[in-house]
Symmetry: C2
Subunit: 281 residues, 2 copies
């Protein structure tokens, strides 16, 4: 077991089972063959060919396209292809800062292989003996990855809010970190990966933040998503990431990136260059 | 002009003009067509085909291979294909921590398109008003990139010395940074690029370090390679990188990586994700 195993687990995909999802002439995602078969029944919304799934170009603007996707998502929920709708809308666009072409229910994003974005924050304490990191234990009744380990704060990036405001909101909800502390979080880069999940494809980007916390700060979850937090010596975090799959899959990458940036993985480690490149595939 | 321009300038290559360079059955580099033509005269050393340049597999070990390359390098120097031999040996290997297959004069490394490694260090001072960075002005009589701007400390990675020892040595030679300060430099990742130069191909890796220096520390060059140092506000560094080509090409990438990791390029910059990925191609 190694850090590279965690990176590989986030990059498992066989694209031959997927077809490009085309909106307004541009590819914005990937649809798996079995999901494409279900979309054939929506003849007014999609042109499903052997080569691609094409959203009807007669849907002329953001609102029309978003409205057309709603009954499709409802049908996919009924068919069981999508589980647990979140009631949260994600933008569909060609890239992060491009104007969204339509909105899509968050739980349906992998079914269309649309790139999702999120914010993940490493909360840590610097002590004389070394770095300690706050670890979240996900609630056992959370629909996704129940009971797994998590970064101190993390959340998907919904429409209509900046990355920093989203991070501040998640800091408050997930760990009761006050705004005046949360705004001190430093953006430090991004990790990218592309992996298959049971509900489709996740070609995702997570923007990473570091926040050094005062030694006496104790986080407290307010939204029921995290059961409790523990402050671990960084060596325990490293061992858990390298040797187990206890962390939610993408949280491993956020931690490995932290370890690289803070000099905790030495550059003469035989895997170093593969790790550095593997975090951004 | 933008940070992406600097990244693109470090990744300009037309591989159709190159052939793989094969040593002991593995590709270790690329040879440009015109250089391959010169190598044909060394029939005992190379098999030059349309598809590849293959080192004679009868050269049975490190010493034999290294010795066979010596007269080749001398001839290439005479032909003007290699300028300014350094008298410094670089390892040729399939990857950084693999056993070297042979040694090669540093100045000949691009002619064989062999991956070279180096260490680059951002030396900075944290003040109330923000970060300041030490900038090196390369000597006007330096054979490579005379008069250009440079990171505070940087050097190629020769054989038989660890990355950290090399950095400590370069810290002493280039900026008179004492060992007890140099060992505090943090390894923070690596940048990679692949670019053509007049003398061949540079598919290089630079290991990056950060060193926060005391506010009263003043560097002093001891080996004649740096003419003088200046301490610049980080805004001036950013503007110079974004708007000019005054820095030696790869130093720009080391600084851009610093700017990302220290939150000085905001993640909602439209180029952010392309920058983050572009630093490791």
């Amino acid at each position: 077991m190694s850090f590279l195993d965690r990176i590989r687990e986030c990059n498992q995909v066989n694209l031959r089972r997927f077809r490009p999802f085309i909106v307004v002439g541009a590819q914005v995602g990937y649809v798996r063959t079995d999901i494409a078969a279900l979309l054939k029944y929506f003849r007014d919304t999609f042109d499903v060919t052997r080569e691609a799934v094409i959203l009807n170009p007669d849907l002329g603007d953001f609102d029309e396209r978003s409205a057309a996707m709603k009954p499709v998502v409802e049908a996919l929920v009924e068919d069981g292809a999508i589980t647990a709708p979140r009631g949260e809308l994600y933008p569909v666009a060609t890239h992060f800062t491009a104007a969204p072409l339509m909105a899509l229910e968050r739980a349906a994003v992998p079914a269309f292989g649309v790139r999702a974005y999120g914010v993940h924050m490493n909360g840590f304490v610097q002590r004389k003996g070394g770095i300690e990191m706050w670890i979240g234990f996900r609630a056992k009744d959370k629909p996704t990855f129940p009971g797994m380990l998590d970064n101190m704060v993390a959340g998907g990036q919904p429409m209509g809010i900046s990355l920093q405001e989203n991070l501040i909101k998640e800091c408050a909800e997930e760990a009761a970190i006050p705004r005046e502390l949360a705004i001190l979080a430093t953006p430090v880069g991004a990790i990218t990966y592309r992996t298959e999940s049971t509900d489709g494809l996740k070609p995702d980007v997570q923007f990473c933040y570091d926040l050094e916390l005062p030694g006496d700060f104790v986080p407290r979850n307010t939204d029921g998503e995290i059961e409790h937090f523990e402050l671990w010596p960084i060596e325990q975090v490293m061992e858990t990431v390298a040797e187990t799959t206890k962390f939610k899959f993408n949280c491993n990458l956020v931690i490995i990136d932290f370890l690289v940036r803070h000099g905790l993985i030495p550059p003469d480690d035989p895997d170093y260059l593969e790790i550095v490149r593997g975090l951004r595939q």
